[in-house]
């Protein structure tokens, strides 16, 4: 029953819009429900990246810690968005840290499990890669815009 429920949640998440139901069935074997209390770090920079998260509820801050300074929030993610892509590319380490700003519910997908499934099923791998490329591309665009520091007094 729970597996069916997870499958449904995965299939209905915007990130997996129009995903072949057969792939949703494959993904569910790597999925689990998780909840993060407000203020809790979901992962920290440099740690091994073995998951990504489909955010179902709440808000998550993506932070970077400059040397000798307090962390800076560079992005916030909410319901319907994806947290984490470092599980997909070597060396499988988080580049940033992520903190639940408020209580957050998510589906965690085990990266090691998924990587094994993608190796065995290249079509699934390509499907995931296409979807994550959009996420990474969108964040690269946003980061470039941030670098422009548009609103500074030039």
């Amino acid at each position: 029953m729970e597996i069916h429920s997870l499958e449904q949640i995965i299939a209905e998440h915007p990130f997996f819009l129009d995903l072949d139901p057969a792939y949703a069935s494959l993904l569910v074997g790597c999925a689990s429900n998780v909840r993060f209390e407000p203020g809790r770090y979901i992962f920290r920079e440099g740690e091994e990246a073995n998951h990504f998260y489909l955010i179902r509820q709440g808000r998550v801050a993506v932070e970077i810690s400059p040397p000798h300074r307090r962390p800076i929030v560079v992005d916030t993610l909410i319901e319907g968005e994806i947290l984490g892509w470092s599980w997909l590319v070597p060396p499988y380490q988080w580049r940033f840290q992520a903190r639940a700003m408020e209580g957050a519910h998510a589906i965690a997908l085990d990266g090691k499990c998924l990587r094994a499934k993608c190796e065995a099923n290249k079509e699934l791998g390509y499907e995931l890669l296409k979807r994550f490329s959009q996420v990474v591309g969108g964040r690269l665009d946003a980061t470039r815009m941030q670098l422009l520091d548009l609103y500074a007094a030039h």
């Binding site: 801050a61 932070e63 307090r70 929030v73 916030t76 700003m101 665009d141 548009l150 007094a153």
Partner: protein
């Protein structure tokens, strides 16, 4: 073309470098304007600046301007005290299409001080609520301390059929709101493209990206409007300082439909 002396009624600090001035016209005259228009403000011995009107068009007893202090002229302007005068010419230019947008959903997308020229649109739509559909305000600032009109944003967010989405480019860990460039707000947008008119003001690259994203989501380029900024001097299309391709920004704008200026937006040194 000769500035008339308006009296400073009030100067209030919005952010560390941005101030709002309320000016009263001489002799108790009425000061009508269309949202999106600008005036030339002159401080004797310092210079004259084009500044958009940021106040309520339904309150013609004064005109309100929000100015970011970035150089000697703007610093001099925001340093004026109540009772002192500022030379005023205008209002000038073609403003936002508030009449043409009647009956339609309105998106107001602002970046940084770009919220100031759009605030009159928000006042107008909220004061004439039945004449418009859904109002969406998208606002991006550099960081939390640079957010303009903070109290009003909170009020606008509570208005019926109004969605306020705001973000900052960078936030500290104490910031509870959204972080990300203004285009990241689009995923939270409830959009009916065919019945939407969008009005955008901010840094030019931000306007270009927001306009193209909206068009990619189905909004017509005819229904997307941008407020352009160039070096306005005479403000009446005579001197040519603000010429931009075939347009004089002071007279033909500053508000233009995207479809009319799209080919100019990517061209350098125009």
């Amino acid at each position: 073309m000769v500035p008339s002396p308006w009296v400073v009624r009030q100067v209030s600090k919005e952010t560390p470098d941005t101030f709002t001035l309320v000016l009263d016209p001489p002799g108790g005259a009425r000061a009508k304007f269309t949202p999106g228009q600008f005036s030339m403000l002159w401080v004797g011995g310092v210079g004259e600046l084009p500044i958009s009107i940021s106040g309520d068009p339904a309150r013609p007893e004064s005109l309100t301007y929000t100015v970011r202090s970035v150089g000697p002229a703007t610093q001099s302007l925001v340093s004026r005290q109540a009772g002192q005068t500022v030379g005023v010419r205008g209002p000038y230019g073609i403003g936002w299409p508030i009449e043409a947008a009647t009956g339609r959903d309105i998106i107001v997308a602002a970046g940084g001080i770009g919220l100031a020229p759009l605030r009159p649109v928000i006042y107008h739509v909220l004061a004439n609520r039945a004449d418009y559909g859904r109002l969406t305000i998208l606002y991006g600032a550099r960081n939390p301390r640079d957010i303009l009109f903070r109290k009003e944003l909170a009020v606008w967010a509570k208005q019926p059929d109004t969605q306020l989405l705001s973000t900052v480019d960078y936030g500290g860990v104490a910031w509870r709101g959204h972080v990300g460039v203004v285009t990241t707000l689009f995923k939270r947008l409830r959009l009916q493209p065919a019945k939407t008119t969008a009005m955008i003001c901010g840094p030019e690259i931000m306007m270009r990206i927001v306009a193209r994203d909206l068009i990619a989501r189905g909004v017509s380029g005819e229904d997307v409007y941008l407020s352009m900024e160039r070096n306005m001097k005479c403000a009446v299309g005579l001197c040519g300082h603000c010429q931009w391709g075939p347009h004089f920004v002071c007279k033909d704008g500053p508000v233009f439909p995207f479809s009319r200026i799209a080919s100019l937006l990517d061209r350098h040194e125009l």
